[in-house]
Symmetry: C2
C-alpha cells in the first residue's frame, strides 16, 4: 500500500517541485500565510480520525495527541503570522547617492527562499515535527516547496496529513508540486532525495545516526546543501547544593514527571542529572524514586524504538560502576518502556564516554560528584546539548559563576529551576544547540526564526524602484520593518 | 624568519585562545567596539611603511593599497558601530506568565559567540580581507578570539598588521590569546588548525580548491564546525538587446575598466559576458577592445597567481571553438597579467563545463547566443555566483521576466546597469552566494551581517532579571532594539 517510491518517480516529483518553486517563490507573504492557515484548517477538520490512526501507530495517548495536534495548528498559524509580519526577511536598504565620488550604489537586501526542501519528520512527534510540522511550516513560510519523506513508523498518519496539505494547496491555487509525500522505508530513498541535484535543503528530526548520515551525504555532494538536523541530547540538569537542600522535594517532583512523561520519548528528556554527594541528595533520590514508582509504563512509540531503548539501556547499565537505583518491571515480550534511574560516580562518568550517550526513553543517569571541582569538570566535558538546566538559588548562582560560563557554551537553551521538557513555541525559543545536538548551532527548529534555515539573502544593486520586490520598494507597501541607512524603521523612503 | 608553526606550538596558542574566549565572550558591546576602533588606529599609524611593504609583496599600486587601507579602517570602525548598536544580537523576549495553565515560561534569546575562529585571508586583498580584514572584524564583534593564518604571499604585511592588533589588544586590556598569528606556508598547518578541537569556526577567502578542502575537513570532524569560504565566481554579465543597442559604448567602457582593474584580480571580476548575436554586439566588441587596449598590463599579485592565471587561461583558450578576440602582449619571463577577451558560441559554452570555470585574472569570455532561448538556457545552466549583472533598459526587464526569475537563483547580488567589481561595505551588501561561490549561501563576507557567521542563539528560560545578560534585562540598559512579545521595540519591560 505504501510502497517505496522509485528513483524515476522521485525524479518526476522533484521536477514538479522545481517548477512549483519558480512560481511559489514569487508569492506574496499574504499568500503564503493564507496557505499555511488553510493547512491548519484542513488538518483540524480530520479530527478524531487522525487522532485514532496516530494513537494506533504511535501508542501515544489520545490526550497527548490532541495536545500535539493543537500545537501543530498553533505552529502553522503563528509561523504564518510571522511570515506575513516580515521581520524574518531582514530587509536592509542603503540608499544610493549618485552625487558623491565614487557614486554610492543603491543596495537593498532581503531573504529569498533556497528552493525545494526535503523533510524527515520525527517518530516521537507524529504531528508537530512531522508531515505538517515545524520544518514544513518554516519552509512554506520562506517560500520553498516541500517534499516530506513519510516516517515509516506512522505512515498512515503521515498520509492523512499529506492529503490535508494537498487539499489546502488546491483550495489556495498553489502550483502543482508545492508539496509531495514520498514513501521510503528503505534508507536508500532518503539518500536518493538528499543527493538529488534539485533538492536545496534538508530538515531532519531524529537520531544522531540518521542525522549525521544525511549531513555527511549533503556535504559530500558536488554542490553541498544545508542540512538542519536536530538530533537530541541528554539535557544535563545540575542540582546545586543550596537549592537541593532547600527544595529537594520539589526538584524530585519536577524531574520524576519530566523523565517519565510519554515514556521519556522527548529529545529534551533529562537523561543526565549531576549533583554533589550530600544528605540532601540522598533525600532527593528517595523522593525521585517515590515519584517515578507511581508511573505506569506503557508501550513505546514503535518496535524499533522499544528495541533500541532496551539495547541502549542495557549497554549503559552494564558499564563499570553503574548502579541501578530504580527500574520498573520488565517483560521481554512487550514493548513497554522500563523506567530506569541509574547512578554513577563523577569519576566513572568522566572516564567513560559511553555514559555521555543518549538512551532515548524513560532513562536518567545521576552523576554523583565528590565536590565542586568534579562537578565543574563534568560540565566542561559535556558534549553539545539542546538544553542545560540549573536547579539553583540566587546564592548558588553567585557561587557558581564559572560553571554558568561553561554551561552556556554547551547548549542552546539554559533553563533555571524548571525542566527541559516542554518546548514552548515562541520567537524567543531556541531549539537547537552545539553539535551533536544539532548540525548547525546557528539555527533553530522551533519558533519563527526557524524560517531562516531555508532562506538566503540577495542584494539588489541600483535597481529601479518599479522593478524591486514589494518588500524593498521606496513606498514600503507591505509596511514591514526595514533597516534603512542603519536605522530600523517602517518609514517610506522619500525619492529625491 | 617566518617558519611554520609546529603542532605543539599551535596547541599552546589555541589553549590560550580558549582561555581568552571565556573572558572575551563576556565583554560588553562597548568594550568590543573600543577594541576594534583601537585596531583601526594602530593600523593607520603604520602608515607609509605598511603600504611600502604591501606594495613590494603584492605588486598592487600604492594608490590601490591606500584605498584598501582606508576601506579596512572603515570596516573596523563601521562593524564596531554595528556591534555596539546590537541589532545583530537578534534579542527576542517572550515574557512569561505564571498565572496561566500550563504556566508560560519566560524566554529570552540572543546571539552569543561561537568560540575561537581561524581565518585564512585572501592574497588579493592584503588588508581588507586578510589579517585585520572583514572576517577578523566580524569575529571580534561577535565576541570570538581570532587566529589568523598568515598568507604566505604577503607574510610581512600580515605580520605588521598582526602586531598592530596585538598592540591594540594590549592597550585595551584584552585577555592574552584574544589574537594569534600563525605561520604556515605548508597546507598542513591550515589542516591542523581546522581539525583542532578548540577551533569553533573558520573564515576563508580564496580559491575553490582551498575553500572546498577546508570545508570538507571541517565537516569530517567528529564535531563539525561551520566554515564560511568565499571562493569567487565568474560573475556573469547579461547584455540585453535593447540596452546593448542604446548604450553599447557605455557598457564597453564600464566593462573594459572592470575586467582589467588591478589585473582583474577580484572575486567579482566579470569573467563571463552573455549576449545575443547582433550588430550592436559587434559594435560593443570593437569598443571593448579599444577600451582594454589602453590598459598597460602589470605584474600579478605573486608567482603562484601568475602561474595559475597563465595555466587556466591556456586551458580555457584551447577548448574547442574558443576564439581569442583580444590579448595583450605576453612575455614568458615576466609575471604580468595578459589581458584577454575570448569568445565562444552559446552552444559550445553549454556543452563544455570547463568554460564555466573561473580564470582568476584579466580574462573575460563572451558567450554569443543565437537567440533569446539560448541566452535563457545559458542562464539556467550557470553555477552559483557571487554576482549577476544585467545591462538592461526597462523594456528589456519587462521582456525578460523569466530570465530574471532564473538569475535570482544563481547569485547573491543582482546588479543593474553597473559592474560587479566594487563591493560596497554596507549592511545591505550581500557578498556570498550559492555554492560554489560560497560554502553557505545564507551568510555574507561583507557588511555587518557577516558578524552572524560567528554567533549562535541561546535562550534563557525563567531566569531572574538580575542574572540575565544586560542585553536581555527588563530595563534594557543598553537601549537596543529587541523583539518583545513579537513586536520590535526599545522599551523597557514593566515588572508585574
Amino acid at each position: 500500500m505504501y510502497t517505496d517510491h522509485k528513483p524515476q518517480e522521485i525524479d518526476q516529483i522533484l521536477a514538479k517541485s522545481k517548477a512549483a518553486f519558480y512560481q511559489y517563490k514569487n508569492s506574496s507573504l499574504k499568500e503564503r500565510a493564507n496557505f499555511m492557515c488553510a493547512i491548519a484548517v484542513e488538518i483540524e477538520a480530520l479530527g478524531e480520525e487522525l487522532i485514532k490512526v496516530a494513537a494506533e501507530e504511535t501508542h501515544l495517548s489520545e490526550k497527548r495527541l490532541y495536545a500535539e495536534l493543537k500545537r501543530t495548528i498553533f505552529q502553522l498559524n503563528s509561523y504564518a503570522d510571522a511570515a506575513e509580519q516580515g521581520n524574518w526577511l531582514e530587509a536592509r536598504i542603503d540608499v544610493g547617492n549618485a552625487n558623491v565620488t565614487p557614486p554610492k550604489p543603491d543596495l537593498r537586501k532581503m531573504l529569498v527562499p533556497l528552493g525545494s526542501v526535503v523533510i524527515f519528520g520525527a517518530s516521537n512527534f507524529p504531528f508537530a515535527y512531522s508531515t505538517a510540522g515545524g520544518d514544513t511550516a518554516c519552509a512554506f513560510a520562506a517560500g520553498c516547496p516541500v517534499i516530506v519523506k513519510a516516517h515509516p513508523a506512522h505512515v498512515k498518519t503521515s498520509t492523512l496529513v499529506a492529503n490535508a496539505i494537498l487539499a489546502a494547496a488546491d483550495k489556495c491555487n498553489m502550483p502543482e508540486g508545492i508539496f509531495a509525500h514520498v514513501y521510503g522505508a528503505d534508507f536508500k530513498v532518503g539518500e536518493y532525495l538528499v543527493k538529488h541535484d534539485m533538492v536545496k535543503a534538508v530538515g531532519f528530526t531524529g537520531s544522531y545516526g540518521g542525522g549525521r548520515a544525511l549531513f555527511d551525504l549533503a556535504n559530500q555532494r558536488k554542490t553541498p546543501i544545508p542540512v538542519f538536523a536536530e538530533m537530541g541530547s541528554v539535557n544535563p540538569v545540575f542540582l546545586l547544593p543550596n537549592k537541593l537542600e532547600e527544595d529537594y522535594q520539589w526538584i524530585a517532583e519536577q524531574l520524576s514527571r519530566s523523565i517519565t512523561q510519554d515514556m521519556g520519548q522527548f529529545c529534551t528528556n533529562p537523561g543526565l542529572v549531576i549533583a554533589i554527594r550530600s544528605d540532601a541528595l540522598d533525600l532527593y533520590i528517595n523522593q525521585l524514586i517515590a515519584g517515578v514508582k507511581k508511573v505506569e509504563p506503557v508501550e513505546m512509540l514503535h518496535k524499533g524504538i522499544a528495541k533500541s531503548f532496551r539495547e541502549n539501556r542495557e549497554k549503559a547499565l552494564t558499564q563499570d560502576s553503574v548502579d541501578v537505583i530504580y527500574q520498573s518491571d520488565m517483560d521481554e515480550n512487550d514493548q513497554k518502556g522500563i523506567i530506569t534511574i541509574a547512578a554513577v560516580s563523577g569519576k566513572s562518568f568522566l572516564s567513560n564516554h559511553q555514559l555521555h550517550e543518549e538512551v532515548f526513553g524513560p532513562y536518567s543517569l545521576l552523576v554523583v560528584c565528590e565536590d565542586e571541582q568534579e562537578l565543574l569538570t563534568v560540565a566542561e566535558n559535556l558534549e553539545g546539548q539542546l538544553t542545560t538546566t540549573l536547579m539553583a538559588t540566587s546564592t548558588d548562582i553567585e557561587n557558581h559563576s564559572h560553571l554558568l560560563n561553561v554551561l552556556r557554551e554547551k547548549c542552546g537553551r539554559l533553563v533555571l529551576n524548571g525542566v527541559p521538557t516542554g518546548v514552548e513555541v515562541a520567537l524567543a525559543m531556541h531549539h537547537g544547540g552545539p553539535f551533536p545536538s544539532s548540525t548547525d548551532s546557528r539555527f533553530t527548529a522551533v519558533g519563527a526564526d526557524g524560517i531562516k534555515r531555508f532562506a538566503r539573502p540577495v542584494s539588489f544593486q541600483n535597481w529601479d524602484n518599479e522593478f524591486l520586490p514589494e518588500e524593498l520598494k521606496n513606498q514600503n507597501p507591505l509596511r514591514i520593518w526595514r533597516t534603512v541607512n542603519n536605522e530600523l524603521t517602517k518609514n517610506v523612503i522619500l525619492e529625491i
